[in-house]
């Protein structure tokens, strides 16, 4: 990545020279968005327009040759334009691919499209950790594990910045409840803060992310957009972040003085508390001018470093171009996760079937995710039904919504196979603004999921119709955990499709009819019971986060999940053998042979976990500390190695206030899911 932190710091003197020539008013003008809320809301009423239709600008003084920050939202592509941008699968699906190289390529594609839209900032690196998977916007993030979030987020940061766009990571921090996002104050202990909720943000900063968006919620009673501890002490001092902080939109800053002193560099996307009020606060001595100078320096330096390095114009032709759409398809192929395949009924053999019945209203909906700020408007969307029809050969594909169960059963009996498409859409989960929030800027419904089950009518459909046809497949659509206990025995196969993007239907058709071998892995644990997960009150002003969540919690409490973290089936089979565990000064490594023991080519995601069974303090049984994807032809064997930096094994010692490494025996696991029966184990002493 050319525009690294070190490289950007090389522009400090040049930026300082500019800052020194600016008046207070000019410097403050760089620190907030340039459009009014009214303008934004009005433009959304225009035919074919919507939130972030064009990049939103902040600052910029043309006569002084200072460029504005030009904001484009994400993460499932670039939100700008209508019928143009590439709609990638949601981040949760991309997380399930465990493919950092692919994520970097997606980042590069997104950056190209942003530059074609004349933007310079991508605010779509969402790395919040869903403490409870009911979080309505968890589709925007990669999964439940901090290491994995750090790795995937870093890959997107790299890709985006490699092609000349500022990557903004968000929402810093503790933002994993949607309905209460404007009012909830999150609390947790220091270890939880550092080891669970901030570690992946630090990973992305270490990778070189050049901007950070603060969150709406409060942490320990203070708005994160004003948070001296989070913004000044942790982010800018401890982590030595060189870029700028921007607030979340409209309600991210609530107080001029507290925000400016708290380390907020840029109020987005309208000027409400900064602007004249901030100038006055400086003149009244409530905010020191050095604070303003520092913010201006960070903003100017960052934008300048990117601008001066990437001068070439990018044509609008790249927006939604063939290569980018192919990438969206590749991502869907690699992320869709096969959870069950009894009697290997999948893939369906199109040459032996004459009629496939598709049930469920979601099969015919262009369902790319929620309708909030991450809504991307692509030129087309392949629905599951169209994708299936396109890959069924001579086999007829019929769809019925499934309202009349008797009729659905009759059709299922007559068909050779049945595909249920069930789950959620933007009405069930996603970015949320309550009705009394009249200033609603995206007009979204959604919110958090109060239950992790499918809808009652879908459960009934699966249970009544599934058993009628042995070749029954459930395709799940949704942004995070969907419980399966109530119906999983009624169908022979289950595929988790997340929100698979504009080419999602194509990937589903290819996978169901066997042109593509599924290779996604669950980026979260799938419990049997909702109660196995940490509980939150979705509509509250106070929420405590415990140290344990997800697979770490289930493992610690000895609860067997329905399916473990990192689980996913393939149409072929793999074996792992001959493990070797080594260490040197900086890393722990695990090596093993992976062999394709089945009869078709496929990808396996090999995972490295470190176990803390010998720890003298309270630690998880094991944590993900590395992963890699390997492609193997039938019979092929490769020796693969995964390394983990030793510093990744640290814990936060509240007494010393530092991350420390324990001198103990660590269990090291390498294998194909987080379940110990899928793992080979060794020990390393540090």
């Amino acid at each position: 990545m050319k525009v690294s932190k070190k490289y950007r710091l090389g522009f400090t003197e040049k930026a300082k020279t500019i800052v020194n020539k600016l008046s207070l008013e000019e410097k403050v003008s760089l620190m907030s968005g340039s459009i009014s809320l009214e303008e934004m809301v009005n433009s959304m009423g225009e035919e074919g327009q919507h939130y972030n239709y064009i990049p939103y600008s902040a600052g910029g003084i043309p006569e002084k040759n200072i460029d504005p920050m030009l904001f484009c939202d994400g993460p499932r592509g670039v939100v700008c334009g209508t019928g143009k941008s590439t709609a990638f699968p949601v981040s949760m699906l991309r997380g399930a691919s465990f493919d950092t190289e692919l994520e970097e390529k997606i980042g590069r594609a997104i950056a190209r499209e942003i530059r074609a839209y004349k933007g310079n900032t991508f605010a779509g690196v969402c790395i919040n950790l869903p403490y409870n998977p009911g979080w309505g916007r968890s589709q925007e993030t990669y999964g439940e594990d901090s290491f994995h979030l750090g790795a995937m987020g870093s890959a997107l940061v790299k890709g985006v910045q490699e092609n000349g766009v500022i990557a903004c990571i968000k929402h810093y921090a503790f933002n994993q409840m949607e309905i209460s996002r404007f009012k909830v104050s999150v609390d947790c202990d220091k270890r939880t803060e550092r080891e669970v909720f901030l570690s992946h943000f630090k990973d992305c900063i270490d990778t070189g992310a050049a901007a950070v968006m603060s969150s709406y919620n409060l942490y320990k009673g203070t708005h994160c957009g004003h948070h001296d501890y989070l913004l000044n002490k942790v982010l800018k001092d401890e982590w030595d972040f060189d870029g700028f902080v921007m607030s979340d939109f409209v309600w991210g800053v609530r107080d001029t003085v507290e925000a400016a002193n708290g380390g907020q560099d840029m109020e987005m996307c309208c000027t409400q508390f900064f602007g004249e009020k901030l100038v006055k606060a400086v003149k009244d001595g409530l905010v020191k001018e050095e604070k303003i100078n520092e913010a201006a320096l960070r903003i100017i330096r960052t934008i300048m470093a990117f601008k001066e390095t990437f001068k070439d114009e990018i044509s609008e032709d790249v927006i939604g171009c063939k290569e980018h759409i192919a990438l969206a398809l590749e991502s869907a192929r690699k992320g869709i996760t096969l959870l069950k395949n009894n009697e290997t009924i999948l893939p369906l053999d199109k040459n032996k079937l004459s009629k496939v019945l598709v049930l469920g209203k979601l099969a015919v909906i262009e369902n790319t995710g929620d309708h909030g700020s991450s809504w991307v408007y692509p030129p087309y969307v392949v629905t599951p039904l169209k994708g299936l029809a396109e890959h069924s050969g001579q086999c007829e594909v019929i769809h019925y919504d499934g309202k009349d169960l008797g009729h659905a059963c009759k059709l299922a009996k007559e068909a050779d196979a049945v595909v249920f498409v069930v789950g959620y859409d933007h009405n069930d989960e996603g970015e949320f603004i309550s009705e009394d929030q009249v200033d609603s800027y995206t007009g979204a419904a959604g919110g958090d999921r109060l239950s992790l089950e499918l809808h009652e009518d879908e459960i009934e459909l699966l249970n009544k119709v599934g058993p009628v046809n042995r070749k029954s497949v459930a395709v799940l659509i949704g942004g995070n955990t969907i419980l399966m206990e109530k119906w999983k025995d009624s169908v022979s196969a289950i595929l988790m499709a997340y929100y698979p993007g504009m080419e999602g239907g194509t990937a589903l058709g290819e996978i169901i009819f066997g042109e593509v071998n599924p290779s996604g892995k669950l980026p979260y644990v799938l419990p049997s019971n909702e109660k196995d997960l940490p509980q939150v009150d979705w509509n509250t002003t106070k929420q405590h986060y415990d140290y344990y969540h997800g697979y770490a919690k289930l493992e610690k409490e000895g609860i067997t999940p329905s399916l473990p973290y990192g689980f996913g089936l393939s149409y072929t089979s793999f074996s792992i053998s001959n493990p070797e565990f080594t260490k040197n000064e900086t890393v722990i490594s695990a090596t093993c042979d992976v062999k394709n023991t089945g009869d078709r080519a496929g990808d396996e995601v090999v995972q490295l976990y470190i176990g803390f069974g010998q720890s003298k303090i309270d630690r998880p049984k094991k944590s993900l500390k590395g992963f890699t994807r390997v492609s193997l032809t039938p019979g092929e064997q490769k020796r693969i190695s995964i390394s983990c930096p030793i510093e990744k094994l640290s814990w936060f010692n509240s007494e010393t206030g530092k991350m420390e490494i324990e001198s103990i025996d660590y269990d090291v696991f390498i294998g194909t899911s987080s379940d110990e029966k899928d793992l080979l184990c060794g020990k390393i002493n540090l």
């Binding site: 029809a389 396109e390 050969g393 007829e396 019929i398 769809h399 019925y400 009349d404 008797g406 009729h407």
Partner: protein
């Protein structure tokens, strides 16, 4: 059901539907691209279609899906039925020409057929029939509105299946090709060289075309062209005073003799006789299977169904 034949149905230009009231004697097994709604004003009639045999009585309604082979017969007494034929593409998703819908509407059916939609659709159809025969011009805005409301009723209220096709799918490809052939004929029937031009246009050999048409609609290219020419000739005979030479030429028959021969064979009377009778021969029971019926009675029956409180 080997004796099935394809029927080409012409719609009135202004409304996307062909509406008529008829008394049925017997229509042999046939199919068409149009969806056909039959509202029985006076029964009973027997309908035989893929979903089974039904005896429909006064007040019953049924939908025959596009391309479904069906047969309608009179039972013992006289009957009167309202027919509404909708072109198959009115339900086609405008974004996606590669799918078609099959609906479940039969007031005598059970299971998925039993639904609240029946009464609303029935009233709507009766209203369309009444409007068509009593009020204003045949292309009146009200009638248009009613027909489009009927289309909306179907999509919103009636259970349906969506058949999705791939571009690569041969079956769908066949029906698309068939539509192309038929519309080419409709646009070029007046051209005497149409047969060869069509082969060139479709890039098919004579043999391939013959096999394709026989397999898909049970007719030859010549038969379709003739049918189309005769339909046009009928309109000209009925509504103009152009001479036979002119009509034969205009319709692409090439010569008077061919025109006479084809017309007599298909319609049962000569073009002259047809003109003298004012086109009434069309309703001859021996030829079309339609019987005479009382118009006034039909209107009263329609009105009763429209006001049905059920």
């Amino acid at each position: 059901m080997s004796i099935t034949s394809f029927e080409s149905v012409e719609c009135e230009r202004k409304i996307p539907a062909n509406i008529f009231i008829a008394s049925i004697d017997k229509s042999n097994f046939h199919w068409h691209f149009e969806y056909e709604i039959i509202l029985v004003l006076k029964g009973p009639i027997i309908i035989n279609c893929p979903s089974g045999n039904s005896i429909l009585e006064s007040g019953d309604i049924i939908l025959i899906n596009s391309k479904d082979v069906h047969e309608i017969r009179k039972k013992n007494e006289n009957n009167i039925c309202l027919f509404i034929q909708l072109p198959h593409d009115v339900f086609q998703d405008w974004k996606d020409p590669h799918c078609y819908y099959s609906f479940y509407l039969n007031s005598k059916g059970s299971g998925v057929y039993k639904n609240d939609a029946v009464n609303q659709i029935k009233k709507r159809c009766a209203n369309i029939g009444f409007e068509y025969f009593n009020v204003g011009e045949k292309g009146s805005p009200r009638l248009l509105a009613l027909v489009y409301s009927l289309i909306a009723d179907f999509i919103e209220l009636v259970p349906f299946e969506r058949h999705q096709y791939s571009l690569k799918n041969n079956e769908h490809y066949a029906s698309e090709k068939l539509m192309q052939i038929i519309s080419y004929i409709h646009e070029n029937y007046m051209n005497i060289d149409i047969a060869q031009n069509l082969l060139d246009e479709m890039n098919m050999s004579e043999k391939t075309m013959y096999r394709f048409l026989k397999q898909n609609i049970g007719m030859t290219q010549k038969e379709i062209i003739n049918k189309c020419r005769i339909e046009t000739a009928k309109i000209m005979l009925k509504h103009t005073d152009k001479n036979m030479n002119y009509i034969a030429d205009e319709c692409g028959f090439g010569s008077d003799i061919t025109f006479y021969r084809c017309f007599k064979k298909e319609i049962g009377v000569t073009p002259n006789e047809y003109r003298i009778n004012g086109g009434k021969v069309d309703k001859n029971p021996q030829i079309k299977g339609y019987l005479n019926f009382n118009k006034q009675e039909s209107c009263k029956l329609l009105q009763t169904l429209m006001e049905d409180k059920k």
